[in-house]
Symmetry: C3
Subunit: 245 residues, 3 copies
């Protein structure tokens, strides 16, 4: 059994973020929370989402799993304004999910959960952490995208602050945020390279004003942010591009 109501904006934001990684996702439902984990087909990006019961307006659930077609869900969510409420109810016998938005009812077939991966998210403990404003990240990415002859971005944290940079053969773009404007915790200077397109895709849809970035040398970067007044937690992991020495 699964029956819940949620603010349309919260659900839209969740679905947008997970859509950067996969087209279909398994929602693992518990009585007090639900989780969605996914890894992209190229095994470069991974997402781990925990949505607490309190992120919902109402929530009644037994242990169950349902498979969502994210394109279909998102087309339905376009029918809702940001302040509308989405009511969802799972019919396990028919394998259907019914979504109600105002006087619209939308019943849809679910994806077979047997076909959906359930990736193990690695426990990585990264030594550097910095909280950066999303608008800064977005500006840095647009600057990086103006450098045409490269497809990776360098993230760097040291005692001077945070830097996003992108170097081609002759051109360079960089965004620097001084340590004085940041909340950060580091053991030493760290930097790594990541694929620019993946980094750009996730940063474009992050719905939070502040993103925590956790980093190490040639390790996956972790982006952490919350939704629903802190009741939904998202961890996005992106594999590094190892620089050839």
């Amino acid at each position: 059994m699964f029956k819940a109501e949620i603010k349309s904006e919260t659900f839209k934001n969740l679905m947008s973020v997970i859509s950067t990684v996969v087209d279909e996702v398994k929602m693992t439902i518990h009585p007090d929370s639900l989780t969605m984990k996914a890894i992209d087909p190229a095994h470069v990006a991974m997402i781990d989402t925990v949505v607490e019961k309190d992120a919902f307006i109402s929530y009644e659930a037994d242990e169950t799993e349902i498979g969502l077609d994210l394109d279909k869900i998102r087309s339905v969510l376009k029918l809702a304004g940001p302040n509308d409420t989405i009511c969802m109810e799972h019919d396990p016998d028919q394998g259907l999910l019914t979504m109600v938005i105002g006087n619209i009812e939308r019943r849809m077939a679910l994806v077979d959960t047997g076909s959906l991966s359930d990736p193990k998210v690695p426990k990585v403990d990264l030594p550097a952490s910095v909280k950066v404003r999303l608008d800064q990240l977005q500006k840095g990415i647009r600057a990086a995208e103006s450098v045409s002859d490269t497809d990776h971005i360098k993230i760097e944290v040291n005692t001077e602050g945070f830097e996003l940079s992108c170097s081609g053969d002759t051109d360079l773009a960089s965004l620097k945020v001084p340590a004085s404007e940041l909340e950060m915790s580091i053991e030493g200077a760290v930097h790594s390279m990541y694929p620019l397109d993946y980094f750009s895709n996730i940063v474009k849809v992050i719905p939070s004003e502040i993103v925590e970035i956790q980093l190490d040398v040639d390790y996956p970067v972790k982006l952490l942010f919350d939704l629903a007044d802190g009741h939904a937690h998202i961890t996005y992991l992106l594999a590094p591009r190892i620089e050839n020495e």
Copy 2:
């Protein structure tokens, strides 16, 4: 002779509505009103427009007919703001129409009326009538369009109210408006199926807040709405898709 002034918004709305059916239309001009009738090339949709003299700012006309190229007219109307006045004058000797918008003059060749059809609009008397808010219809259509494996929409009116619905193999979208929120008159429950694309195209451009829908079982549906403070009347007829039993 035909010489008239009209609010650009009124003329834009008329041309947009007729453009959903045909690319060229015959305007039959009388001293006190003008009419435009058209049937689409597939003979699925038909439109019947009556524009009274009072829909115009000024209007002087003898009996005449002119053929309009709707794409050309609409490209000229883009030069006008919603509150601009369009002055039109027919030169029957040259076969030209001159439109004046502020300090812009646009003279254009007319379409030969001999090549334009003049469909007879059937007199159908439909037993069910319901007035629905346009924004409800538009929401219902967007919901229907999210169901990918079907291309028709069901319109239903019964004592409970009005319903637009769309069913695929597994998926279903429906919009219900309860009778208590509607002005309706029915003899019994009626429903029919119509092609979704046609229904969507006309509903997208209807410039009126309320649309009257007249309906019967497996009969054409009639959409009726007014423009120009009730001085222009539009009837749109759409053929049903007969359900196989």
Copy 3:
């Protein structure tokens, strides 16, 4: 040496205007001003730009030349809001230009100035001059573009005023501004035809409210306008289409 600060809006406008003529331009830098001249590949349009020191917030320069890739510059300028300041510094040893916008730094390779033309702008003295509002020109061009079977536009100045017109086989579009609404100086009536696409491209990006048009019979037309509170001067020359007699 070249180091300067300029309002992003001023620099954006300059680059947009020059981009209608060429993709790369030579900036010839003097201690008190800089100039950019360009001719389009088909030798139909020419632009001559003089930007005085006072158009900049700060300006330090020796005599030098740098070659700009306009697409690259414009992609960087998209990172700036209209009130941001752009800081530019030329590194002649590396052949690089560094642009700084807030906490973004963008270093880019320059184009070899040897490959860039330095056209001589002809001194033409044209007998008719008229100052026209940009919004009028833009409206006239949109009207002209609605006439599909022609690709040139006629500019005419006479004692009655200014007229932009476009005639196809049967259709005609014209914009007239009466002399009473214009500041003009003419010796006699003049008119010439120009390629509509070129005229449209430059008029779309002119950032000034008033454009001075200088004209003669079958001569290039000159469009003159200023930027940066009158501290940057742009002359655009467009070759006529000679009408066959």
